[in-house]
């Protein structure tokens, strides 16, 4: 079991080397002639106005919250799916009940207008 995760660990480092190589290579081969206009923010030729890092539409955050609920739900449901053979019918129905409660949550978010893009 541990060796599996050692493999994944080595994989992460090797996988990082592959994209790093061409980028480092480009650093040696590519020309470097920076000037202030080139290094400015690209905005269709206009000079940028105002700060970019500002508070933005809250709707994105609400979607993230609803997503979080379902993400955690699936983490709970995966073991349920794996142990499916040893579960009696009653336990399966309990899992179904869990899903139904979450559907209730989805309906609540729906009624509250959390899923509307407005």
């Amino acid at each position: 079991m541990l060796s599996n995760w050692i493999f994944v660990g080595i994989f992460i480092s090797i996988a990082a080397v592959f994209p790093l190589l061409p980028i480092v290579l480009a650093r040696f081969l590519a020309p470097r002639k920076p000037n202030p206009i080139k290094l400015d923010t690209y905005e269709c030729g206009m000079e940028t106005v105002g700060d970019t890092w500002v508070q933005f539409k809250v709707q994105y955050y609400i979607y993230a919250l609803v997503f979080l609920v379902f993400d955690i739900e699936t983490v709970f449901l995966f073991p349920w799916a794996v142990a499916f053979d040893v579960l009696p019918l009653f336990a399966v129905l309990e899992g179904v009940l869990f899903i139904v409660i979450l559907v209730g949550g989805l309906l609540y978010a729906w009624r509250k207008g959390a899923l509307e893009w407005a």
Partner: protein, 394 residues
Amino acid sequence: MSFINDPIGFLAEWITNFLSGFLPEAWVIFIVTLLGVIITASFGLIIVIFLIWLERKIAARFQDRLGPNRAGPYGLLQTFADMIKLITKEDVVPEKADKLTFNIAPILSVVAVLLIWAVVPFAPGWIGTDLNVGVLYIAAVGSFGILSILMAGWSSNNKYALLGAFRAVAQLISYEVPMLITLMVPVLLARDMGMMTIVESQNLWYIALAPISAIIFMVSSIAEVGRTPFDLIEAESEIVAGYHTEYTGMKFGMFFAAEFLHAFTIGVIFAILFLGGWRGPGAEEFRLLGVVYLMLKGLLGYFIVMWVRSTLPRIRIDHMLAFNWKFLTPLSLMLLVMTAILDKIFGDTALRLPLLLAGNVLVLFLGWLALRWASRRQTKTRRVFKKRPVAKPA
């Protein structure tokens, strides 16, 4: 075990024997693992060179063009020419950007896709590492991709890039929900999360047992990659190029390569979960055949992605999110419940296939009813609008 039946296993055994002559055992295991990692990772990267050519050629055919045909036979060397071009391009890092995050993001985007290949079963016994939580690993690693897009968009300090990143958050995490739920259906049918076990348990391809889940998985995967019709995160007519607006040269190339590889990777995962992976006549005996089968099935999935891309126009963001939350998510939850109950009661009987199929058709019918109801309601509300006074000639 002969060379023709299992070339990689044969080579691994030979190298192990060779090395254990003069190295301690831990080192031998480490070196063999390292070689395995390099083979699996470079497989993905080598295939992306071929994929870029293939996609450009097929997209050209869809649009009644010829596509690349100058560099090399049939334009096969076009990708290499592009690579040389990208490497010799100046790498501009905007002054206002958050430099560290800006530089890490393209690397992370490739790593995120490449990591999925660690659990792809190529043939019997040929798998990077057979994690017992393979499916969950894919879902977890897939989220790295979202993170890289967010990092790129945020650190560019560019309004278009930031808008692209925000859209990516809304789209990618939303579509992750039906994807995760439909990923659970093959897990449920196989009773295991390991990729190898899922393939081995498919005496009958799961697309026969769960056709609607397969379609939902495909749709939400296309949204995860951000291909047309879900390419709002880099909609060129609205927000220049979205999150990679400020990227130039090889760093842009990395985002580009990651997207192509991701599109093919979801084709392969689709093949593993629903089309039986490497299974096919003779694959048990000659393992290279298994790789061929998997690649063919994966290319079929990839072709569907390309087909959808060249057929459908981009959809609006509110429509896209409504389609996900109000249609795909309830539908996939219904499918999961239906599959769980039917498979528990009739799992071991001959009725499993016809009943699951009937259940899928029923859920599809319910979904169609809901869509019809919604569209009727929409036309009704549209009719409520007051008639505008029409200017009449006096």
